[in-house]
């Protein structure tokens, strides 16, 4: 089981949190802080597994994370998950984000937290891995987005126009999480 999925940036700012077990909000923040402290002090060339998050889980739980450019993707899992499998899942998730947002960058996650959630929902459900095939995930997400669009119809047009205007002056921040850049050497789980 996956107990929690956390995405935060290099400064520990949460970009997405998803707990599959109830924690009160302040506890959640504490967990994020703790996890950030554990993860952030590690070099990029050390292993991606980490034990010893004291607030979440306990001895049976592990933190499995990946660091892409400005973002950390951390999964807290118990011993029933395969470590390498989860690493691969993170990769699938990020690649899916990349596909859905077209060159995903931190800004996409900042401004579209809800969409990231919807994508995540097609990958992991209630702490269990739902789908690992990226094409399938993307297809389902797109179908749902299409539904949303068709529902929006004319009535949503003015709002969309306004938000397009608002979006024009987004602060400029280097884009691209650049998954291609960091060559991740994970044994491939070829045929899912």
């Amino acid at each position: 089981m996956i107990k929690a999925i956390l995405i935060f940036n290099n400064h520990g700012k949460p970009r997405l949190i998803r707990f599959y077990q109830y924690f009160a909000e302040d506890m959640q923040q504490q967990i994020i802080r703790e996890t950030f402290h554990l993860v952030s002090k590690r070099d990029d060339n050390v292993c991606n597994f980490l034990e010893g998050g004291s607030l979440i889980g306990g001895s049976d739980y592990k933190l499995i994370y990946r660091h892409y450019a400005t973002l950390y993707f951390v999964f807290c899992v118990d011993s029933s998950e395969s470590e390498l499998g989860i690493l691969d899942l993170i990769q699938v998730f990020v690649e899916t984000l990349d596909k859905c947002f077209e060159n995903v960058c931190e800004l996409d996650l900042i401004f579209h937290m809800d969409k990231v959630h919807y994508i995540l929902q097609e990958v992991v459900m209630g702490g269990m891995v739902l789908e690992t095939n990226m094409n399938e995930i993307v297809a389902q997400v797109e179908m749902q987005n299409r539904m949303e669009k068709s529902e929006g119809g004319l009535s949503a047009a003015p709002a969309r126009a306004v938000s397009a205007v608002k979006n024009m002056n987004l602060p400029e921040i280097p884009r691209n999480i650049n998954i291609g850049d960091i060559n991740i050497k994970v044994p491939s789980l070829s045929p899912f």
């Binding site: 050390v46 395969s82 749902q144 539904m147 045929p191 899912f192």
Partner: protein, 1243 residues
């Protein structure tokens, strides 16, 4: 009203949406909190509006704020409102918010039950999907109970997308509502063989989670999983299954034997590291579970260790880490095979990665022997010095202590060395583990008598230099060691060289800064030291020294009397008064030393930590019985003497103060005694326990060899332990020489070592401890119970899921379905009690079953089957008929699943089958399959039904797709439909083709036609195919293949593969190599056919082509299963690249006039069929449409997927048909004509 809506939507434009909120927060970095609080106020306003869109927007923003740590539970009701919106967009927002912030304590959850039920049964699959996803995060016991049945129905949904979600969520439902597990389990098991890989993977996932916690209930599924393991190619599924087997093998060693071979094969064959790693892990689990007696046992271990070594040596840190992790599992049972890789592991200790160092540390635990302990610890001590982070250093510290103290200090040959290591460790600043070191010091000093002299000397030094330890801060954990030091110095003060000096050290004013509990020990032990000092001083003639000592005590103790800590205060004032009294006696020249020492006389024995728990209740002692006669009822109420022993104790506290009667005192005394017994530092009065102690080899009689070392330097801060290392080497050398001479003496030593004789695997006979240490065994009460079980956590939710799943379902276990209140009421009087008694019963049954032999089991099975029948009859009780029709349907459905379940003997007799499966080592494949086959019997039946159900569904969807694709022309549509009818016409539905343009009634009906032509066939399967161009993509064609099962066996795992040519390629999922086959997404029960489609990409379409391919599949009959294959040749005709496209005559004329087309012609002789048949054939087989027809002349048109125009002019005269054709690609045209010619020559 309408105006209001318009106004609302205009207002909405200026509301902040999520992006605005985020942007706002980013622009208000300095006063973020203030900005957010104004935003929350806005949100509250928005939530008050009627417009659901506004509300949804507000809820969306709240979800974001929740992530930032703001409690948004106050909006729970609004979230429910948004969830219940009919629009998917808003519903999704609502469910997302709910999944982020609802939990079991959220009270509005109970309002959602009906909404969720509605969404679950929504015709839109994404509504259902969103509801399932949300529910998986906030399901409560109530929701689980109310919705279990709805979700169970969804497990058989037609859409795999819903099926997989429904299967996954069942796990959450089971956790919250364990009663649903048994009724839902058969269906869950069915899903293990779902045609959709996603659903299958979900089912495996759920069962693995369940089985991990209660593996024994899932043993009977082992054959099924075994089959999946050997047939599945999905690595996710494989990993889960292999992990599951790892949990199952400890329960059934025979399973392990069966697994070794396929797992070893996988280890050799797989390229996926994750799979390899899990295989190794499970092999290890198997080997652990197997006692020796396995022929190639050591070979497997070697294989594992060897593979792990490869992982550890890999440059990828992740693999290194996992390798070490798995290695530590082998270590527990096969330490020797790991020990040979000591070099590698020590090397990992120097790794820059902390996680890896920690894992290597774990391994070290098993690497030590008497020979290398000192060496290894020395290395660790170096790391301790180097380590910067406190966590890693603390970890090192505990590991050092673990390694040294493991199995009762088995590997320590020189305790002086150990004590000095402990003393060195005290120099670590800021460690959390001071108490650990302290308890080791105490333990060693108490249990190793020979070391006390040395230990006391070291402790005295520690006390002398206490300022070094406490120097920095109060919270410095290391000061805990002073607790031990003070106690050891006090308790064993007779070993002190200069007790007076130590006493002074203990009474320094600085001590008052130590934590209270340590001060208390200081004070108490100062008194002990005082006694020792007095005795030594009184033996000398000079009495002033003794008086000075008393004065010292009297001077210093008042500091402690003023302590804020009660314990310190009490002890200090007690002792102060005592010393004052002593001083008075001394002044009268009375000898007091004897009496003062008597205060602290007696030896302390170590007591095992669990000793108290293990004391059995003696026969005849009833702890609940009254000791005295219970007081009569007439006594006044407020005394309530009953309560003294009863549970109402808390209530009684008020009166307790006032009346401490005899009984109360006795009780307290008892409690205190128990407390003391638990405390290893209390002397126990019980003579019996001392007897046990005396049974151990008499401590006093062990010859204690003189320690012939010079006393080590007592300079604090100097590493002492290193000296021992050298000394030890010298000593061993010396001993080796001596050994030869003193063979006799050695024997005696050996006996004296007592516990060491049965030491670890390494033979270390030749290393004798430096001093003869008796490790005093911890005391245990006599006839202590041997049980060593640790109780499981009673709060573990998985405990409730420990349910026997092989037993047939009882009626009472049916999941609650929606019923009208009236029916409910009617049922309850009888049903309620019934349900309770039945659910209670099964547990007993299972226990019985285990004891009884198979015969009895069979009988019981019969009986339960009979039960079922009678119960079925009950089903049609009049009360049931009151329920509405819908319920009846669901009830009957549930009944069906239940009644079919126990019928196949394999299911209810799962356990015996398992035995059969496991014991059949001789012919594993055959029998295993047999069992597997019987096991799948039931799912097969269900599958049959499902396939039938799905077929029309599929047809429908096909139609839909086509409709979307094609133009709206009526004629076109009709034709399409017809084609579908036609491939069915194989099965005898004769139907006439009516081409849109010629509906003349007088013409003869057309013979049945089918575009599906035979691809290949053998005894098992027949494949017919049709190729259609894809209008949307000019480079794609779709090959539809109907697979028909011709045999009486079950066909499964069909894989379709084609050798790609340069021009045409099978489209495979991303990541697949050109040699991978495609799995046919269904299985075929006997006699059933189904259609699958494969997409090919083509480059050039002007030439026909043939592609070779193979279909591989598994044929499974009742007693065997075989791999079969069927080769075929796919023929891509040029016609198949043509798409029926209508064309109007004027456009057609223009096209012909344009002059860009090249022409060709064809003559067919001896064609006897009517002209309209001829045209229909060309239309049907070659995808043309008729543009115009005049008597015996017709113009026809078609278009290729790449946009080539093909025009035909067909004329007939007296059995001769001439076709003039034009096309912009001559090659294509000629090939098409050739194909047309063939069509007519065949007929």
């Amino acid at each position: 009203m309408a105006l209001k809506i318009v106004k609302g939507s205009i207002d909405r434009m200026f509301d902040k949406n999520l992006q605005d909120l985020v942007r706002g927060i980013r622009n208000h970095k300095e006063d973020e909190a203030k900005y957010i609080s104004t935003c929350i106020d806005e949100i509250k306003q928005e939530l008050k509006q009627d417009n659901i869109a506004v509300k949804a927007n507000a809820v969306c923003k709240l979800t974001y704020l929740q992530m930032l740590g703001y409690d948004v539970s106050w909006a729970a009701f609004n979230i429910v409102e948004v969830m219940s919106s009919s629009k998917f967009t808003f519903k999704r927002i609502g469910y997302l918010a709910a999944s982020q912030c609802f939990h079991e304590g959220t009270d509005v959850i109970m309002l959602t039950t009906n909404q969720i039920r509605k969404d679950l049964s929504s015709p839109n699959q994404y509504d259902t999907g969103v509801a399932l996803t949300g529910l998986s995060c906030f399901v409560t016991p109530d929701l689980a109970r109310d919705l279990a049945n709805d979700i169970m129905t969804l497990m058989s949904h037609t859409k795999p997308y819903i099926r997989k979600k429904a299967v996954l969520i069942m796990y959450k439902v089971f956790l919250k509502y364990p009663e649903s597990l048994r009724p839902a389990f058969p269906r869950l098991k069915e899903k293990l063989e779902d045609p959709d890989p996603g659903v299958q993977s979900a089912a495996v996932n759920v069962i693995c989670e369940l089985a991990r916690r209660n593996p024994k209930n899932y043993l009977s599924l082992a054959p099924l999983f075994f089959k999946l393991m050997t047939s599945s190619t999905n690595n996710w599924v494989l990993i889960k299954i292999i992990k599951l087997f790892g949990a199952l093998t400890p329960l059934e060693p025979r399973l392990g034997k069966k697994l070794i071979e396929p797992l070893t094969n996988l280890i050799h064959s797989t390229s996926a590291m994750s799979l390899l790693y899990e295989c190794v892990n499970t092999v290890i689990a198997v080997l652990i579970s197997l006692s020796s007696g396995m022929p190639n046992h050591s070979a497997s271990i070697q294989l594992c260790v060897q593979k792990l070594r490869i992982l550890i040596e890999d440059s990828d840190q992740n693999l290194k880490y996992l390798g070490l992790l798995a290695m530590s599992k082998i270590l527990k049972t096969h330490p020797k095979s790991v020990q040979s890789h000591k070099d590698l592991i020590l090397q990992c200790l120097d790794d820059k990665d902390e996680s890896i160092r920690l894992r290597a540390l774990d391994l070290l635990y098993g690497m030590v022997s008497k020979k290398n302990l000192m060496e290894i610890v020395k290395k660790l001590m170096l790391h301790v010095d180097k380590a910067e982070g406190t966590t890693y250093r603390d970890e090192l510290l505990t590991k050092i202590i673990d390694i040294c103290s493991q199995s009762n200090y088995q590997y320590i040959t020189n305790f002086e060395w150990y004590i000095s290591i402990l003393v060195e460790l005290t120099r670590l600043e800021g460690t959390r583990h001071g108490h650990l070191i302290a308890s080791q010091m105490l333990d060693v000093a108490i249990r190793v008598k020979a070391i006390r002299g040395f230990a006391v000397a070291q402790m005295a030094t520690l006390l002398d230099n206490a300022h070094l330890l406490t120097g920095n801060t109060q919270r410095n954990g290391i000061c805990e060691v002073l607790y031990a030091a003070a106690w050891i110095c006090g308790e064993f003060s007779e070993h002190l060289e200069d007790p007076k000096q130590t006493l002074e050290a203990m009474l320094r004013p600085k001590v008052a800064t130590l934590p209270g509990h340590i001060q208390a020990v200081y004070v108490q032990n100062a008194a002990k030291l005082f006694a020792t000092v007095l005795r030594s001083q009184e033996s000398t003639p000079d009495t002033t020294a003794a008086q000075e000592t008393s004065q010292l005590m009297i001077d210093r103790l008042p500091l402690f009397v003023q302590s804020a800590n009660l314990e310190v205060q009490e002890r200090a004032s007690c002792i102060l008064q005592l010393v004052k009294y002593i001083q008075k006696l001394q002044q009268k020249e009375v000898e007091v030393a004897e009496e003062v020492t008597a205060l602290f006389a007696g030896e302390l024995n170590p007591v095992a930590p669990k000793a108290q728990k293990k004391v059995p209740i003696p026969d005849g002692l009833d702890l609940d019985a009254w000791i005295n006669e219970p007081p009569s009822e007439s006594e006044s109420e407020d005394e309530k003497p009953k309560a003294v022993f009863a549970k109402e104790e808390p209530k009684h506290t008020r009166s307790r103060h006032s009346e401490v009667d005899e009984k109360e005192l006795a009780r307290r005394r008892e409690a205190r005694k128990q407390e003391q017994a638990n405390n290893p530092f209390y002397i126990k009065a019980s003579p019996s326990s001392q007897k046990v102690y005396q049974d151990t080899p008499g401590v006093e009689h062990i010859p204690v060899v003189q320690i012939d070392l010079s006393v080590p330097l007592k300079v604090p801060g100097m590493p002492l332990s290193d000296q021992y290392l050298k000394m030890e080497e010298d000593r061993r050398q010396k001993e080796k020489d001596e050994k030869k001479k003193k063979e006799k003496k050695r024997k005696r030593e050996k006996r004296a070592r007592g516990r060491h004789v049965d030491s670890g695997p390494e033979s270390e006979e030749d290393i004798t401890p430096a001093h003869h240490v008796d490790i005093v065994t911890e005391e245990m009460p006599e006839n202590a119970l041997p049980s060593d079980e640790d109780e499981k956590d009673p709060n573990d939710p998985h405990k409730a899921l420990d349910i026997d799943l092989d037993k047939p379902l009882t009626d009472s276990e049916k999941l609650p379905t929606r019923t009208h209140r009236s029916a409910d009421v009617l049922k309850s009087p009888g049903g309620d009690g019934d349900g309770v008694s039945i659910t209670g019963e099964p547990k007993k049954k299972t226990r019985k079953e285990k004891k009884e032999k198979k015969k009895a089991k069979d009988k019981e099975r019969m009986r339960s089957a009979e039960d079922k029948k009678t119960k079925k009859k009950h089903k049609h009780d009049p009360e049931e008929e009151e329920a509405n029709i819908h319920e009846v349907v669901t009830l009957v459905k549930a009944d069906e699943t239940q009644s079919t379940e126990p019928l196949p003997p394999s299911v209810s007799a799962g356990a015996s089958d398992l035995d059969f499966w496991l014991t059949s080592d001789a012919a594993p494949s055959g029998i295993q399959e047999a069992v597997a086959a019987t096991n799948t019997e039931m799912p097969t039946d269900a599958d049959l039904g499902e396939v039938k159900d799905m077929e029309p569904e599929e047809m429908k969807s096909k139609h839909k797709k086509k409709k979307l694709k094609k133009e709206k022309e009526e004629m076109e549509k009709k034709k399409k439909k017809k084609r579908h009818h036609h491939h069915r016409s194989d099965r005898g539905e004769a139907e006439s083709v009516q081409n849109g343009t010629m509906e003349e009634d007088d013409e003869e009906p057309l013979p049945p036609m089918s575009n599906y032509c035979l691809l290949a066939e053998n005894a098992y399967v027949k494949m017919v195919y049709d190729i259609q161009g894809n209008l949307q993509d000019g480079s794609q064609v779709v090959v539809s293949i109907i697979f028909q099962n011709m045999s009486s066996s079950f066909l499964k795992s069909m894989e379709f593969n084609v050798l790609d040519s340069l021009n045409s390629k099978l489209q495979r999922p991303e990541g697949a190599t050109p040699h991978d086959g495609l799995t046919v997404p269904f299985q075929l029960p006997p006699g059933v056919s189904n259609e699958a489609r494969f997409v090919f990409s083509v480059q050039s379409i002007v030439m026909p082509q043939k592609l070779k391919g193979t279909l591989t599949f598994i044929v499974k009959s009742d007693d065997s299963s075989t791999h079969e294959k069927l080769d075929f040749k796919l023929h891509f005709t040029c016609t198949s690249y043509l798409i029926t496209t209508p064309c109007y005559s004027d456009a057609y004329a223009k096209l012909l006039e344009s002059g860009e087309l090249k022409s060709s012609s064809l003559k067919l002789e001896g064609v006897t069929m009517p002209f309209h048949h001829l045209l229909a054939r060309i239309c049907f087989h070659h995808h043309f449409s008729v543009v115009e027809r005049i008597d015996s002349c017709a113009s026809m048109y078609s278009r290729s997927i790449q946009g080539h125009h093909v025009c035909l002019l067909v004329k007939t005269a007296a059995e001769t048909v001439s076709i003039d054709a034009k096309c912009d690609e001559l090659m294509l045209l000629e090939n098409v004509l050739e194909e047309i010619k063939q069509t007519f020559s065949q007929s």
